[in-house]
Symmetry: C2
Subunit: 321 residues, 2 copies
Amino acid sequence: MQIQEAIIAFNEFLDSYKKDQLGGRLLKPVDYILSLGGKRLRPALVIWINQLYGGSLKDALKGALAIEMFHNFSLVHDDIMDEAPLRRGKETIHSKWGNNTAILSGDAMLVLVYKILSQLDESKLKPSLELFNFSALNVCEGQQLDMDFEDLESIKMDDYLMMIGLKTGDLLGASFALGALLAGASQNDIDHLYSFGKKTGIAFQLQDDILDLYGDQKKVGKQKGGDIIANKKTALWIRAFEKADEDQKRAFEKMASEKNSSQKVEMASVLFDQLGVRSEAEEIKSKYQKEAFEHLDAINLTDSSKDMIRKFAEDLLGREF
Amino acid sequence: MQIQEAIIAFNEFLDSYKKDQLGGRLLKPVDYILSLGGKRLRPALVIWINQLYGGSLKDALKGALAIEMFHNFSLVHDDIMDEAPLRRGKETIHSKWGNNTAILSGDAMLVLVYKILSQLDESKLKPSLELFNFSALNVCEGQQLDMDFEDLESIKMDDYLMMIGLKTGDLLGASFALGALLAGASQNDIDHLYSFGKKTGIAFQLQDDILDLYGDQKKVGKQKGGDIIANKKTALWIRAFEKADEDQKRAFEKMASEKNSSQKVEMASVLFDQLGVRSEAEEIKSKYQKEAFEHLDAINLTDSSKDMIRKFAEDLLGREF
């Protein structure tokens, strides 16, 4: 199976689930957010990995749906916290129905995650729940850390890497691991795939940080320096602030309070280039990518399957957009 | 076992859980809300019923903790929605730490519910999850209905009864049913105990509505007519509005816009007495109480155990405070 086939299988399953399960007033926003689309990367990974291990599609689809439902739950609640008006170019749930309905429909989604998991084959239920709960609590912890960091003047790079690991890495790790678990893979493979996914997620976020300023704008399709304009403390920002001398710290302050967006981005470019933080961020990214591949090497799949997974990760981490 | 012993057993278990499991920044508010106390009625019921069926205390304590954790999760999120500054006389989580932390720590509590459930004996895991998910989605649905009702000019009594059944009844039903399920009771007993608990919960809420205006203030310990002052559409209000003629509808409008609290409560008293709604609300309450006891009669426990449960419900529903 190719990952593209997994995406198609997932979208079909999701459509039938939405038709059968999401009636009623409370679940209308759930149907809405699930219909906004997205790349369906996580659920496709559950299915794809499961199939590479020769698992049963029936359980894999349920696991995939649980992961995608959880991911969307976290988007709904994060969007409230971030006061984000748009998600995938459409109104967020809280903009459309108000904060209370957004809180409540998020809660219902989290219960639905477990309702879906409880329908797994009984021999897989307990380990799937344990894997999932571990990852879900880490995602909550990561979001809390991210909010805490907003109030800090500076952040240590290690703390930042821990935060993105929790917020972004764990659910990707869980997607790979759950696919393997549901196919009856060994604990060794499950653990290594979790670490592979988590480290790939961290490398992906670091790449996102770098592309904000150094990406090909035509391919990125986002405003250049969007993170800078929003005063987000990305890996570039954090490393630059760590290295800055007194003069450069003053330049940082000036940049932070600059109102003109393009001027602000220009100031950041000058500062970050002076301090050479791009290559340092690339190095950290490469380190995580390398470690991720070591975990991949350690699993017990055919070389051709491992090559496909490696190729997938390379495409994901090599993008210029 | 008496229910008082169940409360003591639960509080000991909760203390050790809090000490072992609730470290870290994210879980501080969870520890805080669980430490505010409360009657611990629901968890005590899980344990008590379980022991009356001769179950193992180990699983009962976990089930009890899951129910109490869910109850507190729902309080944390409801308090955000209701903008309530106080809970049990202390600051609510969102007043103390802000809405975002309150949303997120509520989310973490919901994950913790399932983490606790996943530690149940494996033979009980799937049915416990199914029971719990059913009840949890109903609680969310009830809260959504309650919010929807705020925007309506009038509500039908049947819709109100459905809403309080979902919002208050289902979790009480789940408490009784989970205790029995974890002791290996028959599906017949589990179902009847769920209905017994749910209907007892509805009767309890109706009593609460009546006592707001007609309770002995010394025993109630709350402001007389608090629901009237807050323009809450209780069973009394709904029945009165249904029965009101044109003149009385005008009196309703006057009451709704009256700013002076004691005058407002006095106006409601006059109107409700004229329309005789107290006795009607009492009748509906008695109907649910009677139906609840029929479910209790249908279960397969010794007469002395059933008498204890009946006595418990009578005490709960006969209170003048």
